[in-house]
Symmetry: C2
Subunit: 227 residues, 2 copies
Amino acid sequence: MIPVTLGNADHDRSIPRGTSLITLSLRLFAVENLRTARRYLKSLDREFPVDDSLFFTVGKHSDMSGLDDFFRRVAEGDDAGVMSEAGMPGLADPGNIITAEAHRRNIRVVPLTGPSSVMLALVASGLNGQSFAFNGYLPVDTPGRQKAIRDLERRSAGGQTQIFMETPFRNMKMVEDILAVCKPGTRLCIATDITLETEEIRTLTVAAWRSEKPRPDKRPTVFLILA
Amino acid sequence: MIPVTLGNADHDRSIPRGTSLITLSLRLFAVENLRTARRYLKSLDREFPVDDSLFFTVGKHSDMSGLDDFFRRVAEGDDAGVMSEAGMPGLADPGNIITAEAHRRNIRVVPLTGPSSVMLALVASGLNGQSFAFNGYLPVDTPGRQKAIRDLERRSAGGQTQIFMETPFRNMKMVEDILAVCKPGTRLCIATDITLETEEIRTLTVAAWRSEKPRPDKRPTVFLILA
C-alpha cells in the first residue's frame, strides 16, 4: 500500500524515505489512475522506468477479472504496489478491492506510511480522536445531503467525531448546508489543502462560522463535526 | 502535531524528512509522556538540546490549568509541538485537549505526516476504507467487552468497518471474546506490530481464525471487524 503526496505537496514533507525507496523498487502496480501514477513515479525519480513497468487500473466499477494477471504475477513472487490518486490507498477510495483479494489469496499486505487527508484533518481539528467515524461522500441532492448532515450531527452528539468529504466544486454548497442545518453550538472543522502551502484548518462553532463565511471553494477539503 | 515512530521502528521507514526537521527545530512541547518524548528527540538527533527545551505533560486527567504557561509562550510567538507516546498525536490519545484549546485561542494547528497504527491497519486490512469507525478501547470486563463486540459487529453489518484496540497484555482475552461472540462469516483483521520487523496483518473470517489460533499476545495490536 503506497501512499502518494496530496496535490503538489513536496515529497520531503510527507513521504518517508523508506516509502520512496520501496515505491521506486517496484515494477508492478495496481493504480486508481494510470496517468497520475506514472507522473508520480517520475516525480519521485525522473529516471523511473515507467515503460518497463506494468500497471493495472482499479476503478470504482472494476471487477477482479482484469486483475487475474496481476495476482498471478504476485503469486509468482513479484512485489506489487497499490496506489491511489492522492494520499493513502484503501482510505476514502476503492483500494481495498485489491487488499481484500490479497488476504483471500494469503498474500502479505504491507502498509507504507504517508499522508492521509482524513487522518491529518482529524488530528489537527481538536475534535475527539478517541472515537470517530469516516463517512465518505454524502448525497449530492440538497434534501439528501441536509438529511445526511442532520443524521451525522445527531450521531456525533454521543461524542463520536463525524468526518466526511465533498467533491471540491461542491464545497460551497456543502458549507451552506452544514451552516443551515446544524445547531449553533456544534463544532465544525473545515480542513482545506492539507500539507500544501495554502493549508487552512479551522475549528469553530457553527454559530461562529456563520459570520466567518468560509471559502473552501474548489480546494480539496475534509469536513468534521462534533455536536 | 508531531508524529513519532511506533515502537522501535526505524525513523527512515515512517517519518518524512520534513517532519523530522520541524520536530528538531522546536524547543517547546506538550507531551503525553516526558521520558518517551525526550528519548525520541534524542533518537532523532543525539545532540538535541532536551535540557534547553520546555516540556509540558498532558495526561488523561490533566486539566488546562497547568498549560497556561504553554499557551502564553505560543501566544508570544513560540512554535510548539504536541507529541504522543507513539504514532500520531490526537488519534487514539488525548492530544486533542491541546488542539481544541489552540483553535479556541485562534492558534494555527499544523498536522505533520507520520505513522498511525489505526490508519495503517485499516488500509492493509482489505476492509471497507470508505466507511469506518474507530472506537478506542472496549470495556475490560468480559460481559461488557462481549456486549461491546456484539454491538460493533451489528453496526458493521451496514458496511462500516469497526476498529478498536486493547492494552497488549489483554490481547489474547480480546481475541477469545471476538471468536466466541462473532458470526462465522464476519471478517476479522488482527494487525500487530505495525511498521516493525515483526509486523503481521491478517484478515480472515471468524470461522477461519477459530482454527488458526492467532497470537498477538503482548504486542501492540489493532482489531478490525466487518460483518
